[in-house]
């Protein structure tokens, strides 16, 4: 079994090696494979590609749902409007800031949790479950819970923090509002990060750690020289997934501030244009820009970590 896996991997990997013509059986298997995945591909195109193409098409129009007769073709005008509007850049900056801060904090806390889950000896199931519980809670519910927690009237946060007054209004201004939103976000998704990191931690060979220990490496040296380099792929996947997730932040903002005090994210701006204002043209342009910016974020993360995605899937 192991041998065949290795053989397949090696056969696929080197692109430079001369290609041997496929046997009839391989051709037949490939044809069958194509037939088997065809329905899935068609379905994917219908549910994914169609809305994207439709959004792309609509973004070229000045089109309000409540004024269908006035629909007119404006070319790329909606993109120019969006990209030259300070509101778009303010919301983009806000979204990037939330993404960077939450992912950074979650990476540190998530790694600590992963270490605890990996090494814990007693009450293993209980501890793992406790750490993972927040991720099982629906984001809207956790948003409401944190909104109540930060409330100046009946929340407990003001009582716990000695440096804020008892009636401090967390949702009164930008700084404190965005902190409250990020706390909720971090609480909710750190378990997801720790779960991915735990999987990476389990891949690190105990022999290597043992060898480093024998060589006299301290705990920090083992962490930096052995554990983290061997977890690079897992960390990259965790950061990539969470960063993309954080970039489309919507629920917490919707529940906690409804975009007040400039806490709007780029997806919230898109939602307001399409759902609240019924402006399908500019709203579609924003959703296309959102899609493109997600691609840019994903590309940058992959580049920064210089990790081959196939190695992250253990194919290399």
């Amino acid at each position: 079994m192991t041998t065949s896996t290795v053989q397949t991997a090696t056969a696929k990997k080197p692109r430079s090696t001369p290609k041997t013509p496929d046997s009839d059986r391989a051709k037949a298997e490939n044809a069958l494979g194509r037939k088997l995945v065809a329905p899935a591909i068609v379905l994917m195109l219908v549910v994914t590609a169609f809305p994207m193409i439709r959004a792309l098409y609509l973004s070229l129009f000045d089109y309000s749902l409540t004024d269908p007769d006035e629909r007119s073709f404006v070319g790329l005008q909606n993109y120019v409007t969006a990209l030259t509007d300070s509101l778009f850049w303010r919301d983009t900056a806000n979204t990037v800031m939330v993404m960077v801060v939450t992912v950074a904090v979650e990476l540190v806390i998530g790694f600590a949790f992963a270490m605890v889950m990996h090494r814990v000896i007693f009450a293993r199931g209980l501890i793992r479950t406790s750490i993972l519980i927040p991720y099982g809670i629906i984001t809207v519910v956790s948003g409401f819970a944190w909104q109540f927690a930060f409330s100046a009237d009946n929340g407990f946060v003001n009582g716990w923090l000695p440096f804020v007054g008892a009636d401090f209004d967390w949702f009164g201004e930008y700084g404190s509002s965005i902190v409250a939103i990020m706390v909720s976000e971090i609480w909710k998704t750190t378990p997801f990060m720790s779960l991915l990191l735990l999987a990476g931690l389990a891949q690190v060979s105990e022999d290597m750690i043992e060898a480093a220990k024998v060589d006299g490496a301290t705990w920090f040296q083992r962490l930096y020289k052995v554990i983290l380099p061997n977890m690079r792929a897992a960390i990259m996947v965790a950061v990539l997934f969470r960063a993309l997730d954080a970039y489309r932040i919507f629920d917490n903002i919707y529940v906690m501030t409804a975009g007040a005090n400039g806490t709007e994210s780029i997806s919230f701006l898109t939602y307001r244009q399409v759902i609240e204002q019924f402006q399908l043209g500019i709203g579609s342009a924003l959703s296309v820009l959102l899609f493109l910016s997600v691609l840019v974020v994903a590309f940058l993360i992959v580049k920064v970590f210089r990790v081959d995605l196939s190695s992250a899937r253990q194919e290399g």
Binding site: S64, L65, T66, D67, E70, V74, A260, R272, E276, F278
Partner: protein, 440 residues
């Protein structure tokens, strides 16, 4: 014996499947509005006066159809969004809907409301319907909804406060007089200045009270003329600035709403407050309770007057609100649904809503009915009726939501309003928004 054996796993699965099928079929038939030959119309209502509306729905159900109540969310924005999403998807089960008057033009323009035609149109808007209310249901020459109840704002105040300040409330008063009187007496002026629709209601009435408007030629859609950058716009901004600078503002002015200003009436010297018609029934039912009048005598100290003037000598234009009943354009049994809409907006139904829930009628004759005369002081009824009749509606535009949001974004917070810059800035921004050249 065999027939009474407990069903095996396969048979159980088959039975469960059959049961699911039957239930689903039942649900589907309920959705499609066909219940054994009788049609079911869904009436989407906002949460005001639920019990009375349920009773009205039952009373208006006939042998041919049942009217079933469906509840919309509390916020007006969410109500609009939910209805719009259904209608944009051509939902045939959205039959009757309670609509805030400002949403009528955009829903009608989108083709989501079935116009009342012929006799039905004459029944829905006849001479008995107050002019302010009738104006809110007409779009491009069609009657697109039926007025059910009409809301308006009046000036509520403590008689003792006005007396102490030497204000003659028998005569029309101006905002300036009211603000100065409140400031002199250490009292407050209650308004709605949170960043939401009611703030636009206030701004609109101030502008109209000075003889101007926010936009004109609204039927031109995006090409409407933006006219807020005018003397009237500056007069409106001056009132807001005067209130902010007077020291008569209530705590949390920039988040104040209809409810938050209620509590100041019976605290200290009291307040002057512009608010909707529900205030009277609210205080009447709160005698001896926290936030309400301490006793009957204090309740009798509650005074009411016409909405204050923006400019001295120029008649004020009180806000007009309320609810109109629209009929979904995709309704299958349209004639019956419109018949149902006429029934739920009948004078009897309107009287019931006014007496029980303080939701005032849109028909003049109902104000004269014995039930209403008994439930309200006669001069208050006259004031309500006059206010609705001569009130100033908000812009009737398919782009109202954008107009409102654009205004909120420049005029909020009230502490930053400046007559020299705010009207001009909001006019430029609104123009850019309507032209699709600025994000909102």
């Amino acid at each position: 014996m065999h027939r009474f054996d407990p069903p095996g796993p396969r048979r159980r699965r088959a039975l469960a499947g059959l049961a699911t099928l039957v239930c689903t079929a039942g649900l589907l038939s309920a959705c499609s509005g066909d219940d054994g030959g009788r049609t079911t119309f869904n009436w989407y209502i906002n949460p005001d006066g639920q019990e009375t509306l349920t009773a009205i729905a039952e009373a208006c159900s006939t042998d041919e159809y049942d009217i079933e109540i469906q509840l919309l969310p509390t916020s007006a924005t969410d109500q609009r969004t939910q209805l719009a999403r259904r209608l944009a998807a051509k939902d045939s089960s959205t039959n009757l809907m309670s609509l805030d008057p400002v949403f009528v033009p955009e829903f009608a323009n989108a083709g989501w409301l079935a116009p009342f035609e012929g006799d039905l149109a004459d029944q829905v808007v006849d001479e008995d319907v107050l002019a302010g209310a009738a104006e809110t249901v007409e779009w491009e020459g069609d009657v697109v909804a039926a007025p059910q109840w009409a809301n308006t704002q009046v000036l509520w105040y403590r008689k003792s406060l006005a007396e102490a300040a030497g204000l003659d409330m028998e005569q029309p008063v101006t905002w300036e007089q009211v603000i100065t009187a409140a400031a002199d007496e250490g009292a407050t002026v209650g308004v709605q200045a949170d960043r939401y629709e009611a703030y636009v209601v206030w701004i609109n009435s101030l502008v109209q009270g000075a003889g101007g408007s926010i936009v004109e030629d609204t039927e031109a859609g995006r090409d409407a003329k933006v006219t807020i950058d005018s003397d009237a716009g500056r007069a409106a901004a001056a009132v807001i600035q005067q209130l902010v600078d007077s020291g008569a503002t209530q705590p949390g002015l920039s988040t104040s709403n209809e409810g938050s200003s209620l509590g100041a009436m019976y605290e200290g010297p009291g307040e002057f407050m512009t608010n909707w018609t529900f205030v009277y029934k609210n205080y009447e039912g709160a005698v001896g309770q926290p936030g309400g009048p301490a006793d009957e005598e204090q309740f009798r100290d509650l005074g009411w007057a016409r909405y204050p003037q923006t400019v001295e000598g120029e008649e004020s234009r009180p806000p007009v609100g309320g609810i109109n009943i629209g009929v979904g354009a995709y309704t299958e049994e349209l004639d019956l649904a419109q018949e149902a809409a006429v029934c739920v907006t009948s004078p009897e139904a309107q009287g019931q809503l006014a007496v029980t829930d303080g939701l005032m009628p849109s028909r003049g004759s109902v104000y004269d009915s014995p039930e209403l005369q008994e439930a309200y002081p006669p001069d208050l009824l006259t004031l309500y009726r006059e206010s609705v009749d001569t009130g100033g509606p908000r812009p009737k535009s398919a782009y109202y939501s954008q107009i409102s949001s654009a205004l909120q974004s420049v005029w909020h917070s009230p502490t930053g309003v400046d007559p020299d810059s705010t009207p001009q800035e909001s006019a430029e921004f609104l123009r850019a928004v309507l032209d699709g050249k600025a994000l909102l």
